[in-house]
Amino acid sequence: MRMTNLAPALLAGGLLVAMPVSVVLAYDGTTCKAPGNCWEPKPGFPEKVEGSKYDPKHDAKEIAKQQTSIQGMEERNKKRVAYFKKSGKWVYEVDKIPTE
């Protein structure tokens, strides 16, 4: 894993002039901030997109919908399994599961 950026070394050696800029600066995936964290912005792109022209502006309510849905499914499944274990009968419609 190459932890250092080659650009300063190449600059010092005066090689930058002879090489296309993209080769030196472009994101090639081998310069890592930490193990397993090697992303870099591409030339001309920001480190963070928030507030930039590429800000996805995600709606927090929309983004929360999947987790709410999963919690609902897990709760309904628990009721189905609990009744099945108790009675030996499978009732899928949760509102039809006998309470007694």
Binding site: G29, G36, N37, W39, Y54, H58, K65, I70, N77
Partner: protein
């Protein structure tokens, strides 16, 4: 609750560790069943998922004599993926949406023993990215208390266990909610008493998760997400201990900006494998969402990752991310195939091999995730220069990356990958993997779009076309089939195909590799040389894999026909715009000139020998009060 779960997990890990110390391991019933050549009891054939049959009755000398023995239409169109199962003299057949199931007797397959026809909300179809396919059934042999079961997934997100003898529903639970774009196309995988269910929907921003259920009751045992906090991803204390350079703690959020991981993809809808020795289940997580890379800075862990998880607790022992910060939709879900081979230093290794969408075929030590080899599936791969074995990092060629306000051109592989969902095979005697390969490249330009739960969240326009070795003018030469050695990295043979070899392969000790093609053939090649020995024209193209089994002394070869899946979306939904179908319509514009939709199973044997050699078998008998049939005379 989480605290309780964790303490239970720790206990289970300790118990599992103790158990693995004991020298003898009791083989479970399903594992034993899968070893009989009379059965094909799971997708992948066995826990190692090697798709290899030791049968030799059909071999290179007589394969030319293969003829159809019988066939069955499922009554449905669209893509028919996966394969039937064969257990205890019965064949179990699944279909595309609405995911019907049929049980047939191998002695008299004309009589449908039972059928299950789920009522599903048709709206689920609208959120399926890539045709209304399903990859198959799972079987569990019963334990004396609970009967033997057929477990299936429904596109609408339910998982159902049916009594394997009667077809009656034993349990049915909700795994995925199509209203938020989450569907199921993955085949359930049963190991011991646990059924594993993946997830689909990264094209709709679905955050992926893998769930384990008790096969007897449908009770949830664990659920592991592909992104987010370590407690959600089930990252344990010793995670990646052998390879800390892969990354360890906190990366499921640290490699994302803000909350983007909550709609981060990483669904897993491919194939799994299991090693009872390590008690680890192996699978790959899919692509991050959206396809527009600029909208999600960071490595986007743990999408695109090869996982080794404890079957009982779900705790991840290792995770190796193949494609950090995906820019091409190289959904990392492809098959995992286990083998035992000597590495280059002569050390006997327990391995897993995995040909990825990104054009690299990876082989890892399956006990700790150490990378053994990472070879290009074809020398025309250009997105990566190579994969550094020591660091595990792919060296990207920035020329072939994607980004906003830029049209990337001639990128290889395309988003369809150089390998997709096909379930291939491994011949342990030859130490060769038989890979059904795609040869498709692309142009790609992303665009900005908002996330709305339940709506597509792709954000890229693609043009796809044959790779450099195909015919770009004609639109043909989109596939290859290759025999590969994972240690030497050499291809013993390679052959071009008209279309992508999408469905996978099966290998036998008869020195044959079988596979179906999108233009509607089942083919047999010599597994040593790749020479084409036999083919038969099926009613429709193939996107599933062949199976081989023996019944009453006769070796049979079975395969599903019914074109569709991603390559078939143009044909199935009658699309013309080359960029429609996520770019697949243009790439497969020639497909409709070779095949139309279908849906069914064809079964072959030498000289077509089969259950109806005695013409009286299956006949109506006047005055009989019940169906009478005779066993064929052997």
């Amino acid at each position: 609750m989480r605290k309780l779960l964790n303490s239970v997990s720790v206990l289970s890990v300790m118990l599992a560790a103790q158990m693995s110390l004991s020298s003898s391991r009791a083989e479970d019933k399903l594992e034993a069943l899968a070893k009989s050549e009379d059965n094909w009891a799971m997708q992948g054939k066995n826990y190692s998922a090697n798709h290899y049959s030791t049968l030799t009755l059909i071999n290179t000398d007589n394969v030319k004599k293969l003829r159809p023995a019988w066939s069955f239409s499922t009554g449905l169109l669209s893509g028919h993926e996966g394969s039937p199962l064969v257990v205890d003299g019965k064949m179990y057949i699944h279909t595309s949406f609405p995911n019907n199931t049929f049980a047939l007797s191998l002695d008299d397959p004309t009589r449908i023993l039972w059928q299950d026809k789920p009522k599903q909300n048709a709206a689920a179809r609208a959120v399926a990215c890539c045709d209304i396919v399903n990859r198959g059934l799972a079987y569990w042999p019963g334990d004396g208390v609970t009967p033997s079961l057929i477990v299936k997934t429904l596109l609408d997100g339910n998982v159902v266990a049916l009594n394997a003898d009667t077809g009656a529903t034993v349990w049915k639970i909700e795994n995925s909610d199509f209203k938020v774009g989450s569907t199921l196309t993955v085949a359930p995988h049963v190991y011991k008493n646990i059924v594993l269910i993946g997830s689909s929907g990264a094209e709709l921003g679905v955050r992926g998760y893998m769930t384990a259920y008790d096969v007897r009751t449908g009770e949830q045992k664990w659920r592991a997400y592909a992104t987010g906090p370590d407690s959600d991803v089930l990252i344990g204390d010793d995670f990646n201990k052998a390879n800390p350079q892969y990354g360890q703690k906190g990366l499921g959020t640290a490699t994302w900006e803000g909350d983007a991981w909550k709609i981060g993809g990483g669904t897993n809808w491919g194939w799994f494998a299991y090693d009872p020795g390590t008690n680890l289940v192996y699978y790959g997580s899919g692509n991050p969402a959206p396809w527009n890379e600029t909208m999600r800075p960071g490595d986007n862990k743990w999408t695109m990752t090869i996982w080794g998880r404890d079957l009982d607790t779900g705790q991840a022992k290792f995770g190796y991310q193949k494609t950090p910060h995906d820019e091409w939709d190289f959904a990392g879900i492809n098959f995992m195939m286990l083998s035992e081979q000597k590495d280059k230093d002569g050390k006997e290794r327990k391995l897993l091999t995995h040909p990825d969408r990104n054009g690299i075929v990876y082989t890892l030590d399956r006990t700790d995730g150490t990378l053994i080899s990472a070879d290009k599936i074809d020398d025309t791969v250009n997105v990566f220069k190579k994969v550094d074995i020591k660091t595990g990092l792919p060296v990207r060629d920035p020329e072939y990356g994607t980004r906003m306000d830029h049209l990337g051109k001639d990128i290889c592989p395309s988003a369809m990958g150089y390998h997709n969902q096909g379930l291939d095979s491994y011949d342990p005697t030859k130490e060769l993997f038989f890979l059904g390969v795609n040869h498709i490249c692309m142009d790609w330009e992303p665009f900005m779009l908002p996330y709305r739960a339940g709506q597509f969240f792709v954000g890229a326009t693609l043009n796809m076309f044959p790779g450099p070795k195909g015919d770009r003018q004609k639109g043909e030469g989109l596939g290859q089939i290759k025999a590969y050695n994972a240690i030497t990295g050499k291809f013993k043979w390679e052959k071009m195909e008209r279309f992508a070899v999408w469905g996978g392969t099966a290998a036998t000790a008869g020195n044959i590799v079988f596979y179906g093609t999108l233009d509607g053939f089942i083919k047999a090649r010599h597994s040593e040389t790749g020479e084409l020995l036999w083919k038969f024209k099926l009613p429709s193209g193939v996107i599933g894999h062949p199976i081989v089994y023996q019944h009453k002394g006769v070796e049979y070869l079975a395969i599903m026909y019914g074109v569709g899946g991603w390559p078939g979306v143009g044909l199935v939904f009658d699309l013309q715009d080359p960029t429609a179908g996520l770019g697949a319509v243009g790439a497969f514009k020639q497909l409709a000139n070779y095949t139309q939709m279908g849906g069914g199973v064809m079964v072959f044997s030498l000289d077509g020998k089969g259950p109806y050699d005695d013409v009286n078998v299956g006949e109506y008998t006047a005055g009989a009060t019940s169906i009478i049939w005779q066993s064929p005379k052997n």
